[in-house]
Symmetry: C3
Subunit: 346 residues, 3 copies
């Protein structure tokens, strides 16, 4: 769906520098762009590709606009503006109401006529499927699930009994929402399964990535608030609460009963222990491990980074004697008469 630059500028509040009648019809990276394409510069790392881009237009911050050889759309937030333009150029296909002959919808399910149920999908009794919902092929919607208007189960999604999904959510293939939380009470000779009788409540505008898992609460609800974005292979345990507009990168694990605040950013492979509280506006860099609650907004880390193995190994061996090394330093300080600046119980 081609668009005139002037129309895009007006619609998204950009300053247009260049030909108002130029048409763009696809997106491209700066280096691969050809005529008819629109690109953007958001990460300064890619600025080096700017001077030679063949894009018909580039969405860009005012600071770098002069470096672009072609038309520019100057935006305060080039990445978000690019995203909106891309949504115009690549509109989602409207959901056609109905169901594939290979879909199974049990009696007692309420499916809005504008919703689509794909091949091999299963919708159990008691489920309520809203307007323009798309349930992709192979998806499983168990008893009493509710799915809000305009949400999309891309394919092979599993929603277990009683789960509630808000509006405009996107659930990627293979994600599982509402399976039993991991509750096993240790007892003589083994474990007793703790019935997981709660549910999962997912707000509006949430995205859940491929093969991610969000467990139902033991009691009450696991809650994912509005606007949360969850990447692939993420584990959200029972009774977790994730605050609105928090983003969670791939391979993160959040243990049971932990609360994450609003607008947090969790890098890939972050791990958070159970029963903690992370306040609003916390950023955790990749592979950070959190064992204690965090009460102060800010950026937190705990992951060492790659070094040549032999070099790393030598330092790691020293780490294993770090307590001892500190004592030796303390002893030297005592011998030299110098204070350490540490408290005496160090």
């Amino acid at each position: 769906m081609p668009a005139r630059l002037a129309d895009l500028a007006v619609r998204f509040g950009c300053e247009l520098r260049g030909d108002p009648d130029a048409l763009v019809e696809c997106v491209a990276s700066l280096q691969d762009a050809g005529p008819g394409s629109i690109s953007f510069l958001a990460n300064p790392r890619y600025r080096r590709h700017l001077a030679r881009t063949r894009a018909t237009a580039v969405v860009i911050d005012a600071e770098y606009a002069a470096e672009c050889p072609g038309n520019v759309l100057v935006a305060k937030n080039p990445y978000a503006t690019y995203a909106r333009i891309a949504q115009v150029l690549y509109p989602a296909s409207p959901v056609r109401g109905g169901r594939h002959p290979g879909a199974v919808v049990e009696p007692g399910a309420e499916v809005d006529p504008s919703a689509w149920i794909g091949a091999g999908a299963f919708v159990a009794r008691g489920a309520r499927v809203g307007r323009r919902v798309s349930i992709g092929p192979g998806s499983i919607v168990l008893e009493d699930v509710e799915i809000g208007d305009d949400s999309q189960l891309v394919s092979r999604v599993t929603l277990c009994a009683g789960v509630r999904i808000g509006e405009r959510c996107i659930l990627q293939p293979g994600c599982v929402i509402g399976a039993d939380g991991f509750g096993h009470a240790p007892d003589v000779g083994g474990y007793v399964k703790v019935p997981q009788v709660g549910s999962v409540v997912v707000g509006n505008d949430v995205e859940v990535g491929s093969n991610s898992t969000i467990d139902r609460a033991a009691i009450g609800s696991t809650v994912v608030e509005d606007g949360v974005k969850i990447d692939n292979l993420v584990q959200v345990a029972h009774n977790v609460r994730i605050g609105a507009h928090t983003v969670i990168a791939a391979c993160v694990g959040i243990s049971g009963s932990t609360t994450i605040g609003k607008r947090c950013m969790l890098g890939g492979m972050v791990g958070i222990a159970g029963h903690l509280e992370i306040c609003d506006d916390v950023a955790l860099t990749g592979r950070t491990t959190v064992f204690k609650s965090i009460g102060k907004p800010g950026v937190y880390s705990s992951s060492l980074w790659a070094d040549e193995a032999r070099h790393f190994h030598r330092n790691a061996l020293r780490f294993n004697k770090l307590e001892e090394l500190a004592r030796r330093v303390r002893r030297l300080e005592g011998a030299s008469g110098a204070g350490s600046g540490e408290d005496e119980h160090d």
Copy 2:
């Protein structure tokens, strides 16, 4: 299914302090409980909610019983006792025998008439499905799989050819048992696939979490012994053996040919290298990495914890020069004439 406190006390060997005729019919957390609900106190972290709980009854250790305003069931192991009571209040629906018209059962599969095969499930020839087994919608049971009595494939489970599952197992959605192990022999110009001709043997009372993967052995069997509980997104590689009653939290990875003992506890994101032996009764805290066998029961760790990023970063830079720092300390000790207490090859 409501229950009288007196009956629960007798059945589960608790001391009842309060009204024997009081009825409970649901479970609730201490803070959210209302009349008719039963709660419990197992984690002292939640003791603060005790004084104001409105639960009809609380399962609790004798130590804290006096702090509870209502009826109490005093138990030595409140969490396990609570679990058993919850099983009474929320009994599993009995499995109805039969199959959904949308299920596919190949000729040559032996399915007990008391077992249920759900919509879109597939059971291949040679499979043997025991009594009261429930195969949830979208599950795939390939050739010659055996499933013991009372086991449950919740939904969209995959069991590859020849896998054996014991009795009373619970397999959560999306888990895959018996796919090929990762065997590729390096050779000139690439890799040669090593046929994975073994299988997987899962004992009784095992639970496997959503989207977890347990690979078939290259030769012989990958073994998961009785009572093992595995959380979501866990990887169990080929030829691993997991001892009875070991519990494995989410996002753990266990590499090939490693043996884990009985009654071990693996925290979330633990990683264990291949060809190791972990003895019985080992606990690994969250994100511990194991590169060597462990022959002594106990608690092991290897994960640093979150710190403010700038502070962490400075320390991590120092870590990268730790070997050098240790040499400098050694040099100071030499200059001062002090011994270090270390052996001379340090």
Copy 3:
């Protein structure tokens, strides 16, 4: 399918020491082998089982051949030779052309008559399925996907619209290729979804493990080159490129727009940040975290290893004051008049 040792020796260029007419018909580990089985020694860790093996033949390096009581096939690369022999003993069943009555193939899909479409599988319009392709039960092949000759979707695989898979690929159950990359542009009050309009291109002879995820590019293609082997629960983000013959163990995560070179080896749980370049022939040991590009072939590490928890904990507390410890050492050096060997801005 039994084989004569002499035939195997000729076919795979081994030196046979023993009975040329001996027959082998199955594989076994050294310790479990019985008559009629062939085993191998590749990992010296298992050399202790050699003297007592009852295998009819062992594939082995010349160095250890004399220690074997039975017939030996001396090979330069025993593991690769074993793999090839196992492929002979356990030949893959030929794919029978056709489709299960429970499969759904939309009009407009081009499926070669020699390909097999299993029960509950779905092939959408525009898909092109090559010769002898096997699409296992429950697999989902969306619009315009291309699958090259002899590739195998074991079961319950999801290929999203437009994805291209090469020849002789093996896709294990639950893997998802081509779901949306994780692109969300921060904006006032939340995030704007960035349309993921690219695709995924997978080369020839690639294996993708169970429940692994490979996301489609935001723009352009996520690329997995020929011969790449990916284990279970691996995340490959949008716009990643993985060079030929790189092997990736389980639970690895590779962030967006990162390029991995050829012949790299990524250990389990490795994590790589986004927008990096890893050159050819890099090995990353288990749980290494990479935050910067790597331009030099070699082995890299960053993961500490398990220690008794109390001991580890004390060292970790010292780590949190490592910067301070280094300053104290510097102060002692100043007081003693000794140079540190460090540059002055340390």
